[in-house]
Symmetry: C2
Subunit: 195 residues, 2 copies
């Protein structure tokens, strides 16, 4: 008991990391403060010396999830094709606890606090920019618009593939959306739609 300030910072980070993992897996309301503390090797009493409220932890855990993504495979791919394939992989689908929180918590966040929704929004803007920057320059049309389409499709496909009970359909959603998006971004310049 009564550890140093340095240790407190480590403890704080450990609590946030457990929450970031478990919220993605079980939903924002899917685990209690007491269980999070237990999993971090602590007891519930100390919680409110680290956070003013449970909602405060929710915001920090969201930020931690997003910071983690920034350094993960999901953001480190060299081409748009590989970014899409990595996002829409079975590995990403099955490892919810370390995956993109924009997919796993989008419904939860829409019912959460304004603070949580703001953190979410900032991260979404970054992800959209990242996709937009990876679109090959020879692709015509509005790249921002295509990034929004592609990212919406990725979030929808990943969410649906996790909800579905049929493993074959789950795989089909991932592989089909992946292939369709990739073909969209390697389309011939003659594709223009004037209508």
């Amino acid at each position: 008991m009564g550890h140093s300030q340095a240790e407190k910072a480590e403890t704080h980070q450990r609590i946030v990391d457990v929450a970031a993992r478990r919220f993605r897996e079980l939903g924002i309301e899917g685990i209690s403060v007491a269980d999070i503390m237990k999993e971090a090797g602590l007891t519930v009493g100390g919680f409110y010396k680290h956070f003013t409220s449970r909602d405060d932890l929710v915001v920090e855990a969201l930020m931690a999830s997003f910071a983690e993504i920034e350094e993960s495979d999901l953001t480190q791919q060299p081409t748009l094709k590989k970014t899409i394939q990595t996002y829409l992989s079975e590995k990403h689908r099955d490892e919810v606890h370390s995956g993109c929180a924009l997919s796993s918590l989008v419904n939860d966040v829409s019912r959460s606090t304004d603070d949580a929704r703001e953190v979410f929004t900032q991260r979404l803007e970054r992800s959209l920019s990242h996709i937009e920057n990876q679109i090959p320059p020879e692709i015509d049309g509005n790249h921002r618009a295509k990034a929004i389409l592609a990212y919406s499709a990725c979030v929808g496909a990943m969410s649906l593939s996790r909800a579905v009970s049929d493993p074959k359909l789950s795989r089909q959603i991932l592989n089909t959306v992946s292939a369709e998006l990739i073909s969209l971004f390697s389309a011939k310049p003659s594709q223009g739609s004037l209508a």
Copy 2:
């Protein structure tokens, strides 16, 4: 008290309807059995003469949400263009309680029971068929694949537009994905991607 069997059926339907509405709005775990019963004009004690468990109500409420969609504007549009525009409308975004549960509860269902996930899966297959059947015959490529892409984009865009705190971005997501999908389904036959 002690009403007729006919009245019991009506009462049952009323409970399910309240749950179907509130679950979409607040999440599957976002409202208690007691509050659902109160909103249906009843008290909590009678609940378990109608349902064997809370999970049982969840499945019935999901089925009711889906049955409602089958008869709503969302499914009654004459063309694919109108279907997409209706799905990705601000009205649909704002009226979560009567909207498509595939969008509003996709994260919740992925953490729910096998029964809930099966009902969800069946509904998803129907929605995919509906989109597929509305794709104009002159569009080349695999129509099932294009339906999966379009529906994933719709679910992703609707979910994201509800989670985001910036109203401008929220509208942009809906309008952009709508326009991009519609242009995709009115593309010239010369669009083929050989790569």
